[in-house]
Assembly symmetry: D2
Homo-oligomer: 452 residues x 4
């Protein structure tokens, strides 16, 4: 029973693409008979033999997730999630494993494979069908019924809502991390069909800044370097979109000597780009001259076939945004163009005249496919998720209605404060006099809710 | 009549301190009989003979305020403020003059001094008594009654509310620019005493970013350089507060080779400081070693006598924040310390052992006292104010209640878009298909209201 | 005959460590019988089956080496190295392959393995004995005698000088790339034993800036990311040494939000570090607090066991400098410490109390072991080498004596100019009048020889 | 006698332009009878009444010149210049005054005006004729004969060489600071006419980096801000020349959000500009779009009338380079153009169609005319000059021949080390073992002579 306190599902996005690619000819994990060292078969992974390698990666990850560790320590005493039966769906990495351990019970974990105390159904290279199969296996377990949902994208929530309406009704709270999932929750709520309180952790300040601005500032460099070994100095780059992701990409590339252009639809973001030292152009103005094109828009068909036709030889094209349709890759799957896979995640698309465009990750998200996400960033996300689960699970009856809530500002600040020790950062405390002057509680919250 | 369509009052803050200081012995402008070249006496300034110099400064300012000029052009056709009788109180500079011309009617302006079409009561070096005298002269005019208030700090609003309640009741709208003024409006509203719709333009994204982040990024360097000629490279600097103002100061100083420490009370801002590459410390940890101390908190007594006692010789102390009490200057006005005025706005405070602390602007705001504000920033502010006036003045009955409103997102975006041409920035337009995909109107607004 | 026009040897440094590690149990390449598709056996590599993969990597590399390509085009017409029999020793990568093709004759290359027109003796995971065996096989070839040496480190030159003195005497020129090799040449010259003109290409401005400043600016980030996935933002880093390499590392880390300290022995470099915004400290002052330690000194035992004992848990230690002894790794190979290999090139050294220090590449050069060198940087090096070979080979009798020469300034400028088109950079030309005013030839050289 | 141990002349460049401009109608200082409080008339300044103001400025300057103060302390004990009779010519500011006090004898200074122990002939607004008159008064003094020359530009040296050949022959050493002066010394040396050893302090590393790179990084911002209040963010700027001055200007402007283009004639510098993230263009490519044009070339007519004709309205043009002819200002003094002086050092040049170009300092050096030079930079220069004087004056007979010498590397390092304490920078010392390994003396010099 206990072992299933937390059951992570999986996603058909290949989060961690850095190690090996799936070869096509092998047996599907679904067909394999799998048993871990403890005798349990309640999981499905690709290669249980790699558990030891996984354990080491988890240990490395722990070094940079001290906030989560310190929350875990506290949690062990208080057991704020005792009795919680959580079904989750997220990308599986060493870091989510640490997160999983936090929520499960480490005392149970000896000998358990990969994720102790946690049942995992996931492998790299899942088909869409596999993905839904895994989700269903997470939900539909004999003698066990989830009472909390931890989702990233809304697919799990949707599945439970549609297929297991009786389970759904008894859920005490949903914690949703993604833009898309949050959007779907608001729609459900508008339609009057959301019978469960849900916490939108996507829009917490801390998570936003780290998932987007700070994380992308590092992963854009990493993703480009690992795939193409490109030198940044002197390269002309156009970044489509100057939201938080675009800001992070632009800052990093400029800092390493690239010449960066920005495209924008929103005049406020465009003006910020100007003030930050970037020329704001239409894509067509610079498409002939740039060495790299990066999309960070959340929009679709931002880079069209017409743009691709006009790019110069060796131009690199990649997507750091939200959807997989920002680059119109479909328009490249035409008979007149030749595709050549030159490395993992790197295709040369070759025009009849010999021109090559270097397409990364087939237009899917570069930072998910070709770089690693810093453990610290995932620590922020995981801590936020954990606090949101705890908040919803322990809230007195009636505090949260059947609606979608933003993370309370004070908890947002708490997540931040848990991460300060790893920087050896020392907060200043208000004196009583100052607190009074400012009209603030000495323990926060310190800013209005809309502050970013 | 017309000449009074806009009447700017004044502030006892000396906004533009760059030229000459007032000598004490001269006759108060209030005592002088003043007449301009057009024969009008409806103004009170220091030296009407300097009108020509003022005109030139206005011309220089216009070069960088093209957004305002383009709005003025449009306004000339539509006359959206026809009939508006605006009483205002703000800092008077060449830039507010351009702004004044926008609201007044340039057709009337030939031969008028300083601010054509506008009556001005302001001079540099006003006493507090002068200040209230000027405000009263702006409001209390025979045969003329204001129907709009344009305020910066809430003093004018307060004066009208208290002294001229019957005028106050007929006001159609208040546009308030400052944090303090907005705070007072919300209090009035809470108390149920705000009988007029008011627009909080302080919290518009565009204004916030420019008044704080971008403006301070430039003015911290300018203010320090003009007063002390300090070299930034290698200097150790502590910046108290990492809000927008602190972020701007830190970015500029780091960019020019200073080593910057940050103090913060808010864990979210502290974490941002860490990620941006600044050590977050308590002031006492670094006070002995730093060369420059800058306050950007909005708080009081952030730098105490104890801190000042421990500073090293030649340490520079200044205030970029909000209140004039961030540095406890009162604690320095003690008999054991000698004050020596070494330049305008620069005092050496000398300890008995000979140690000197370099205090700028007697602890008042450095960017108001010792640097100029870029014209472009003022153009943003003025454009926002003008649009807010137009919006309130022309709104259909009932759209705005007796409450405080944020500037509608779409107008915020419009202000930004008016300023893009001066950067030769080219916005991208959504295709119909994309707009549909994103669920947005092609003309905006493009972001939710809480987006910063 | 022709196929041997250029014979590259190899180095026992594993230049390109990114793909797979050698397993210990396999047959040494020296034992294998190898034949390429053309029937030649005059080479020795690890796996001739990977020739196709190598070809693709070479094609990718070519995209960023257009300067070399354009020089190759010119060279094809003029054949400036006709008759040259070059023996070389360098790191073998896709990029040196492009360089090899430049010097060899591409017309010969059809069907040749890996490096067409070129005999290669090299594989990853060579022992020191293998290394000398490879060098000897390059020199000692029946019916072929080298008349030019292209060396990187001086080992090849030393081998020929010692073992084949009669060959050495007939060499027309030596081109040496490394600090060490140049040092050995100057010693030989001082001792009166250098009977051949040699070109020191290590000290050319272009190569220096790119190999050190610009290359390390990118590779420090890449090396740390690929091995540890560390987040740079907010990390405290100490960089030992502020020469060109240190400057590059510091600039990149600061740009991505790290807090960087510098140690220096030279007051001039220390002062530059101050002005660039870095605190200059002794290592012992910060060793307890830093998250990353990077050596860039060329010195030995810069990081001692005492320092290592005082580092905090999870501290990362790596070497970007010159020698492999900058970190005293020997002091870590003690029974009280446990080494755990957690990933390729990453060891956790574990203290009895559980503290872990993360040692990269066992203290060897990070940028050679754990990151790739941008193709563009190698293009600069290769172009410089090629021009130096051409210069020495074609110089009229007597222009170069038996001495060590710096690359003529004008050729240094020529290398730079060949690389400008890839940035779409447009040089300004002096007018006759201006050239006269400055006392310069319109075609350069434009700076004195000592200019850096 | 003593009072004349150091006699500074003057320069007709107005070094410190920050206070007041000369009015045309006043009496020339040459005509005035001047006596200081001590009764001496051996000086000629503009207004001896401002001695008190000058004293305060000197005190402020001392705060940032601690290296010089510490050298002065040492010098007071050793009196290394006892017997030296120095005639000098340089820009006169508070900082050179501190420098003067170093060389003169402060014990003599009570009551002396402006520069104690030093005779000064200089005032702001000198004509060229005045300039030569001042120089002559410095050299031609009854009963006193100079034996050392401290020059900046070579005019004093030239005057002594031509007019007082018998004095020239007895000079023990010349210390020359400027590019031009050094150039003239080398020409004299080539012509076999230099009968005195001379020290070229212009090319010391420390001075070069500070006078050019670091100083200009700060003064370009200061100069532009004080004259035009321009906002840097988003401005398009072209910087002509990417030597040390250009590098400093570009770095500062980019750091504050400007978009910077570079023009270059030297491919090596051009390549560096590319790698540092600047587009390298011909001036004509961007002249229509830029907001600011800055020359840093040392060349003439870099900005021609043709360029000026094509600039957009409000474009700012200024010169940070070497000569006063970098901008072809002569071409603007034509009847079709109107000049309007809008502020001190700021002219609007107005085209017939109304277009205004904003010309700063009439094309003379912006950093000399419109900004202050950080005291710290002048401390470096002055310390270097003082050490060079001491070295030449105390060198054993025969060490220095009748030639031009670079400052010995070790003294260059000494200057740097004297300036480290003001940054609280701590140098690392080599161990014996390390020194041996590197082949260095533990006290330096640490780098070869050509190292920059």
């Amino acid at each position: 029973g206990r072992e299933r306190d937390l059951i992570f599902g999986t996603s058909y996005l290949n989060f961690s693409a850095s190690y090996t690619d799936s070869s096509d000819d092998e047996v599907s994990p679904r067909e394999k008979q799998q048993t871990n060292s403890k005798g349990s078969s309640n999981f499905c992974v690709k290669n249980i033999k790699q558990a030891e390698f996984g354990r080491r990666e988890i240990e490395i990850a722990e070094q940079d997730m001290s906030a989560l560790i310190s929350l875990r320590k506290r949690a062990q005493g208080e057991k704020p999630l005792a009795g919680a039966k959580i079904v989750g769906c997220t990308h599986i990495t060493a870091q989510t494993a640490v997160s999983g351990c936090l929520l499960g019970d480490p005392a149970d974990s000896k000998g358990a494979p990969v994720l102790p105390g946690v049942a995992v159904f996931a492998w790299k290279g899942e088909s869409e069908d596999d993905f839904w199969w895994c989700i269903d296996r997470c939900v539909n377990v004999d003698g066990w019924q989830a009472n909390m949902i931890l989702d990233d994208g809304g697919d799990l929530t949707h599945w439970v809502y549609k297929k297991y309406p009786s389970v759904f009704k008894k859920i005490r709270g949903i914690v949703e991390e993604s833009v898309t999932g949050v959007h779907r929750l608001y729609q459900l709520s508008k339609a009057g069909k959301l019978c469960v309180p849900a916490m939108n952790v996507n829009d917490s300040v801390t998570k936003q800044k780290f998932d987007n601005l700070y994380c992308c500032r590092e992963s854009i460099l990493d993703g480009l370097k690992r795939t193409t070994d490109v030198m940044f100095g002197g390269k002309q780059v156009v970044v489509c979109g100057y939201g938080e992701v675009g800001k992070g990409c632009c800052a990093a590339l400029k800092a390493l000597g690239a010449i960066v252009y920005v495209t924008e639809i929103d005049p406020i973001c465009a003006l910020q780009a100007c003030m930050d030292g970037f020329r704001v152009v239409k894509l067509s103005e610079v498409i002939r001259q740039v060495d790299v094109v990066i999309t960070c828009t959340g929009n679709k068909n931002v880079v069209t076939r017409e743009h691709l036709d006009r790019m110069k030889n060796s131009c690199i094209v990649c997507n750091m945004g939200h959807s997989n349709t920002e680059i119109d890759v479909t328009s490249l799957r035409m008979p007149e163009l030749t595709w050549e896979r030159v490395r993992s995640q790197v295709d040369h698309v070759i025009w009849p005249d010999g021109k090559r465009v270097v397409l990364l990750a087939e237009g899917r998200l570069l930072n998910l496919s070709c770089s690693t996400v810093p453990t610290f960033v995932l620590s922020i996300t995981a801590t936020t998720q954990a606090l949101a689960l705890i908040e919803l699970y322990n809230a007195p009856e009636g505090r949260y209605k059947q609606d979608v809530y933003l993370l309370p500002k004070k908890m947002d600040e708490y997540v931040a404060s848990l991460h300060l020790p790893s920087f050896d950062a020392h907060l200043t405390e208000l004196t009583d006099d100052q607190a009074k002057y400012l009209g603030l509680n000495k323990n926060g919250p310190f800013k209005p809710n809309y502050y970013r």
